[in-house]
Symmetry: C2
Subunit: 457 residues, 2 copies
């Protein structure tokens, strides 16, 4: 009897914890990811604001499974799944058969049909998003310092963050702190009153998932950091010059979009039921109703707990717990096969335990010594919430090395008010508006290459 073949799509919180959970299971795991690293997304906003460097929150997926021989890592893109023949198609042409498939590819930035806006604003889901945003912010300060045109300066130093969820709140707070605490010291001709950070939220308050008192506290903390709140306002347009908020156009040098995510396109290519936000609907065992051998976890899945109205939110703890739960299910069934209790194709669904999410609470940091958290009855805000936030994030970071380095960097930032990664790796591109993604920035790249190789421009 052959060992069960498990294919995991995605090396995020869900996929990583699932594969780890199968450490002792009699299965062969193939983990496929479009990047070569597991990214600790909760801290991505700190890479975008020069607080941390990418390798400090990213670990090579291969390194994670160094000592787990039953996991094989594949760096590539899954282009399709055939549920009937139980096969996964990979972009390089190979076709991989599976006994169990776990879809854990997560979500990407969603512009709700306004795809044109993506050309003029930064998402914050991938490593490149964060690096591109960081380079834009740093470059705009350089350009502002280089010009004498006061109006132009104000525009370059204006950042608009769209979306008042945790990511938006953390990003707006961090941009404001980076600008006022760190950069204004480096740039002598720039003054605090030239810096403007705007946070736009459709709802009447930020952090709508939190208790209303915490929202108000977060808003107060944001305003203390100099963030301008525009609540109960909607964005009606984004172009190369800035953002239109309820009809009024705000000229801005940097625009970040954190107000929506949707499952990666792969989800739409799976012939199964989806909810309103395109997430794949799963049963109590996290598997597709018609396909007990296909599990969907994390941001790709719509899991509605017993008796609940809404599906679980797209949080790291949900993905982690689902990953561990599904690992246990697969482990049990794989062993049952081993003992010949069931034949190779059977999945013995009736005996599967239902997944129960254990609420670990929610937290968001606003800035240095500032955060809000809510756990069962508890409502914390300010310094202690911030300490709790630090501990939790260090704890969940993958790998000793990254934990160690991040603690160091944070101590450094805290003590010296200087963030370490203020490096623009992309060379000078002139003071024309820089494109949103460095990798789309070919004209710049070309000009510069020519300068450097001395070919006629």
């Amino acid at each position: 009897m052959a060992r069960a073949r498990v294919i995991v799509v995605g090396g995020g919180f869900g996929g990583l914890n699932l594969a780890r959970g199968l450490k002792r299971a009699p299965v062969d795991v193939t983990l496929i990811d479009q990047t070569n690293h597991h990214l600790f997304q909760p801290l991505l906003y700190q890479v975008a604001t020069a607080g941390l460097s990418l390798p400090e929150i990213a670990v090579p997926i291969r390194a994670v499974f160094d000592k787990q021989p039953n996991v094989r890592t594949l760096y590539g893109e899954v282009t399709g799944v055939d549920l009937e023949t139980r096969q996964v198609r990979v972009a390089n042409g190979s076709v991989l058969p599976y006994d169990y498939l776990v879809l854990a590819a997560g979500a990407r930035t969603n512009y709700y049909g306004h795809d044109a806006w993506s050309a003029h604003s930064f998402g914050l889901k991938t490593a490149d998003d964060a690096i591109a945003l960081r380079e834009r912010i740093l470059r705009n300060f350089e350009l502002a310092e280089a010009t004498d045109d006061l109006e132009k300066r104000r525009v370059l130093l204006t950042s608009v963050v769209i979306g008042g969820g945790p990511t938006g709140v953390e990003l707006a707070g961090a941009i404001s702190e980076l600008s006022r605490r760190v950069l204004l010291r480096d740039f002598r001709t720039l003054k605090p009153d030239m810096v403007r950070v705007v946070l736009v939220e459709r709802a009447p308050r930020v952090l709508t998932a939190f208790d209303e008192r915490l929202s108000r506290s977060a808003q107060r903390q944001l305003e203390e950091l100099g963030v301008e709140l525009q609540l109960a306002r909607s964005v009606t347009g984004i172009d190369a010059t800035g953002v239109t908020i309820d009809g009024t156009h705000v000229l801005a040098g940097t625009v970040a979009w954190t107000s929506g995510v949707a499952p990666v396109p792969l989800a739409a290519r799976i012939p199964a039921k989806r909810d309103g936000s395109q997430r794949l609907i799963v049963g109590p065992d996290c598997a597709l109703p018609e396909h007990p051998e296909v599990f969907v976890i994390g941001d790709m899945a719509a899991f509605v707990p017993d008796g609940a109205e809404q599906a679980l939110p797209g949080l790291a703890p949900v993905a982690i717990q689902q990953g561990r739960h599904v690992a246990r299910l697969i482990d049990r069934e794989a062993r049952a096969r081993g003992n010949g209790e069931v034949d190779d194709k059977a999945t013995n669904r009736p005996t599967r335990h239902a997944f129960h999410y254990v609420d670990k609470g929610i937290m968001a940091t606003v800035g240095r010594s500032r955060a809000v958290m809510q756990f069962k009855g508890l409502r914390w805000s300010g310094f202690f919430a911030w300490l709790a936030w630090l501990v939790v994030h260090i704890y969940f970071l993958v790998g000793f090395r990254t934990r160690f380095l991040v603690i160091l960097e944070w101590a450094w930032v805290y003590l010296r008010n200087a963030s370490g990664s203020r490096i623009i790796s992309e060379p000078w591109t002139g003071d024309r508006p820089v494109t949103q993604n460095r990798m789309k920035d070919t004209p710049a790249a070309t000009t510069w290459t020519q300068n450097n190789n001395g070919r006629p421009s």
Copy 2:
């Protein structure tokens, strides 16, 4: 009487030390650089081989002059100099007048007329060079793991380093160590005999600047690391498939070019005498013969010591010492002006001290516990030369933070044999040949953006 205006072009070893040397001088310094950071180039090869991350060897130039109010930093490109009217033109259109001009913009990769080769090989002079090379090496391992075609694997795992100077030797050794020590552990289906690292040098030995015994020792150490030496061989062609060495074509997944540098294009735009390798010829005071107010230091300058045949080599110590020397000259003359001893335009050249280079010796590391160094009568190779190399490089790193982090990373690599920065920030681009510079990699960027934004591909 106005304070003298000093314009420094370039924030490398020369420019940085010059500006620091003017800390107490009655002058206003404007330091112009095309990047926002001072790059510690001697360790750039470690960024290219995932040993260090960029922010660990780069410091924002502004941060360096945080506490030196007489230095103003400008992020931009110098497009021209008018020696007669004493003005510098910057790309953003502004024109800056100077009393003293210091040209310290350094060198760039030189293909000696074979500019087409640059499209198929990596230089190693800039931050982007190093990142692009690192991503190529890491991706080629991923692609090799993903294919079953053994021949294709061998090609992907073949690296050719052209140029047997310190950079070439260090890079070849580091690629071989990264491949054999770190990556082969991560990639289970790849075997040592599939990895091939070739070092090509036109001369009959590597490190021609060193004593012949040290060259032989370095060659032995390289071979111990599994580097294949092709000495007294010349490259006759480089294309997308590999390198042609004396007529034989070697298929290679990665090609690095370290065998030539030339001054940045700006040098050619200065109306003054140049030597065979396009460096600007300067007098004993490091200034242009016809323009005592214009100094040229570091890789841009051809400084021939009294009685010597050859100009000083392009080494960090030369640039550092020249920077400090010129700072002293300017300081003295600026004070003389202050006391009204001389009028504003005079430079009082006859009284200037001539620059004398104090030879600090030369060293090159080959790999872990392997290096060669030569200082006056001393000839060291092996472990102790390597220790000396470590100490010297830590010492010359700019900034406490970077020193501290680099020591940590090195300790980590040494103890764990795992290098920390094995992150491919650029997403999956399929197994077609990846272009040499990530920033030219638009198709990849586009494909991927589409995948991520769910637009039809």
